[in-house]
Symmetry: C2
Subunit: 141 residues, 2 copies
């Protein structure tokens, strides 16, 4: 399996929840649609729950539902809740401070990083879960 597909799975799961409105969906059922293990789904739902996007209930007839209407959940929130939010990372080790470039490049890259990440966030905030539901609906054959 490749890199970080958590955002994709999160959007998938949230769309399922949106389609079922107020009914609690179980991690087993969601995992069946995503084609993965229920624990993977529960871990992901844990992140979404911490971000107040979903509400989970333990016990019999438990499960997970959206915390609000899909038109009030932007993809930017989803992205933030399951990723570090950085398109690229800064240097692992600090560059050589005796070098004029090394001394100043980090600040430049940091500003650039923030700008890129903000751009991604703004783009994602243009879409809500309701938009995704609609697109999925239109894609139906």
């Amino acid at each position: 399996m490749a890199a970080n597909s958590q955002f994709s799975v999160a959007v998938h799961v949230l769309t399922m929840l949106a389609n079922s409105r107020d009914a609690n969906l179980k991690s087993d059922y969601l995992a069946g649609s995503v084609n993965t293990n229920p624990v993977v789904v529960r871990r992901l739902l844990g992140n979404l729950s911490q971000a107040n996007l979903v509400i989970s209930q333990t016990g019999a007839n438990g499960g997970t539902r959206l915390s609000r209407g899909p038109e009030n959940i932007s993809l930017a929130e989803v992205y933030r809740s399951v990723s570090c939010g950085e398109v690229f990372a800064l240097h692992g080790k600090s560059p050589n401070q005796d070098c004029p470039v090394g001394r100043n490049i980090e600040a430049v890259l940091c500003r650039l990083q923030k700008e890129i990440d903000r751009t991604v966030g703004e783009k994602l905030s243009q879409y809500t879960l309701a938009d995704v539901m609609e697109m999925v609906e239109q894609g139906k054959v």
Copy 2:
């Protein structure tokens, strides 16, 4: 060391090359500024060379220089040459095709992915290596 910092290191190295104009810089010297191993730098320069951003020469007095002026190298090109260019990944395994959401979500996410990646590319293409040089210069104390 953390995630993918290759873009940061690439911009760092290219800025060094830009500052030294036509002189060949050695991987040892560049590694000293980045604070890493020469082989790491040479691997990175290999990518940049394949993308025709730099020219390397083997042998004594060898090294690497830019293939063109820094005002003609956009950060989008740099980004493309050292990363997969995807802000988020699609599903690892294909979702359950018997589920209405599973059947259609991939296409929706793929469109969204392309749009986000294009947005990042457009933002990065607003900056050239010459802009970075200037910002680094201004940051000097």
